[in-house]
Symmetry: C2
Subunit: 345 residues, 2 copies
């Protein structure tokens, strides 16, 4: 029996997201925070392992909703925000429209679900190419537009006016993926939810020190939540992650301090990278920096050889690597390594 002949044709040609563990001393490849909240882990003590988790994640949604000044009915919990991307595309279908380069999961999930996807290149400043995107919205009538802002892997926020213009002309939903919003100066799009029923926001705890938990959430009008909730698996967020997330979210000051430490380091790292000859970093409002070098594959390999793992983005953005902002010590190791390598090239 030939299994490949049995699978749906869009799956046969699908290349899965690559998430292999590479051993290294300094891990700067996955946009993780360098700061964990291990104290919060002890919240698992209250759990009875034999009982299913709260299917509605009530405590967790309550604390998040309170922080946002919204009703919990406007939130939906996900096993990471990528599960919510799955749920959105399952619920609304395609076409799915997004600018590129961006987070690869929009395209992978659309293809996995057999939905049409349309990719429109960003402009030269890595911002939304409004003319092309407007044309695509009008012509292709996407059910879903995904906008990662700050955008992964470019690091910039898209212009708010351009995003809003797309929200206004779209007859489908516009999903602003705010995974990296905590590292940006802007306020994000939550305050605009009340004005636009077709605006959807994605958030995650993965970038702020809780990647181990796999928790993301969707913020949208109750009518949207109600429909997407139909395709959500009933117990999609396990009891351990729920308990630890609640505990960590109580420590607001600690979370904020960790974020501040990272943005300060980013603001130090960027000019330091600019000073290295042959390295062209791009401005960032996220917890990572995209940078261009002459031979990205070689620089990636040489950094890894020095124990430093960054992400090779050169397939998506010519000549580029992406480095996650970490502790001062890690960042110094990276800067020194990159400086040495730049001289050798």
């Amino acid at each position: 029996m030939d299994i490949r002949s049995l699978v749906k044709k869009e799956i046969a040609s699908l290349k899965a997201y690559q998430a292999k563990e590479v051993s290294c001393r300094v891990k700067l490849d996955a946009n993780e925070s360098p700061y964990g909240f291990e104290e919060a882990l002890m919240a698992v003590r209250q759990i009875r392992t034999n009982r299913y988790p709260d299917p509605e994640a009530k405590k967790l949604k309550a604390i998040l909703a309170k922080g946002l000044g919204l009703s919990p009915e406007k939130l939906l919990q996900g096993n990471g925000s990528d599960e919510l991307i799955y749920n959105l595309i399952t619920t609304f279908g395609g076409p799915v429209l997004y600018p590129v380069p961006t987070f690869s999961m929009y395209g992978i999930i659309a293809q996995a679900l057999g939905e049409e996807k349309r990719e429109i290149p960003l402009d030269r400043e890595f911002d939304i190419d409004l003319g092309k995107m407007e044309t695509a919205v009008i012509k292709n009538k996407p059910k879903l537009v995904f906008l990662s802002s700050p955008n992964n892997p470019t690091g910039n926020c898209f212009s708010s006016e351009r995003i809003l213009r797309l929200v206004e002309i779209s007859k489908g939903l516009v999903v602003v993926d705010e995974a990296y919003q905590p590292f940006s100066d802007g306020k994000g799009f939550v305050p605009l939810l009340k004005d636009y029923k077709n605006l959807v926001i994605l958030r995650t705890l993965s970038k702020v020190g809780l990647a181990a938990l796999r928790f993301g959430y969707l913020i949208a009008h109750e009518d949207i939540i109600r429909e997407v909730n139909k395709v959500r698996l009933p117990f999609n967020v396990n009891a351990l992650s729920q308990a630890v997330a609640v505990e960590a979210l109580k420590k607001k000051t600690m979370l904020k301090e960790a974020i501040l430490a990272i943005t300060e380091e980013r603001n130090r790292l960027l000019p330091a990278m600019e000073r290295i000859r042959g390295v062209e970093p791009f401005p960032s409002e996220a917890n990572f920096i995209l940078f261009r070098v002459k031979d990205p594959k070689k620089v990636h390999a040489m950094l890894l050889n020095a124990g430093i793992l960054v992400r090779d983005i050169s397939d998506a953005v010519a000549g580029c690597l992406r480095v996650t902002v970490s502790t001062p010590k890690d960042n110094d190791l990276f800067l020194r390594g990159l400086g040495r390598i730049a001289k050798e090239l």
Copy 2:
């Protein structure tokens, strides 16, 4: 903007799986084990909350594979086995065929994914109606046949010969969902994997004391694992559940003792229920017992009034409720409550 007009039509008519928390003294509705493994929770101490989980769940698959005498390449990890049902249907599509009554998620997920579903009634003994299922396999050419054995909610195993006959004539995959297999005398279908490339087995830790973790796994030929893995979200099993599951699985004897305690209680509970006038329990190889009463809604409400929550199955099996086997004390409370109510009817 009318959101319902935007959703896919199969979603608009979808009724989500109902998993509401009902407060009660004795919880016998969700086929949970009464025995947890809280000692294993301390395994979370090793976790760094800021790091993504192992995307391949290597340690967990290694310990499971060893126990099964299989290579880890034959296993795929799921955020509960219901996520793996999602992944299977996403990968292979429909038609999806299954006998009814059975686990409701096969149908819900097929509908959520817009795939055709075919339901064939079980025979009078709650076994596979081989003639009708053979006809459906030949006529509808299902990509996936789901067989829950022991079957939820009826409690019986299907005849092995009938299952194997369907595996043999099917040009698609036959998925034997062995969620309740640990409570059965049989060996299950793992030993037959080597003979049938289109045989797929689902297992879960949810029924054996670890429902809080959300962990299920799929066992199949490497060619199947490779394709289904393409649609799996890269970090679908969080780090906490991975660590706790590994720790709990090391305590083989404890796991076995808990299962033995439950099956012994089931074997005590069944004849005791038979002795109650107006109660007709069905034989079970699972951790629950299906039973028929004259007025199931009323009995359900009266039990709940006494603090005892069972599952109302009467929409799927006329006149029936389902009770999860629990500790001797819980079971006695249930027996006494049911006895009292039976007299009043």
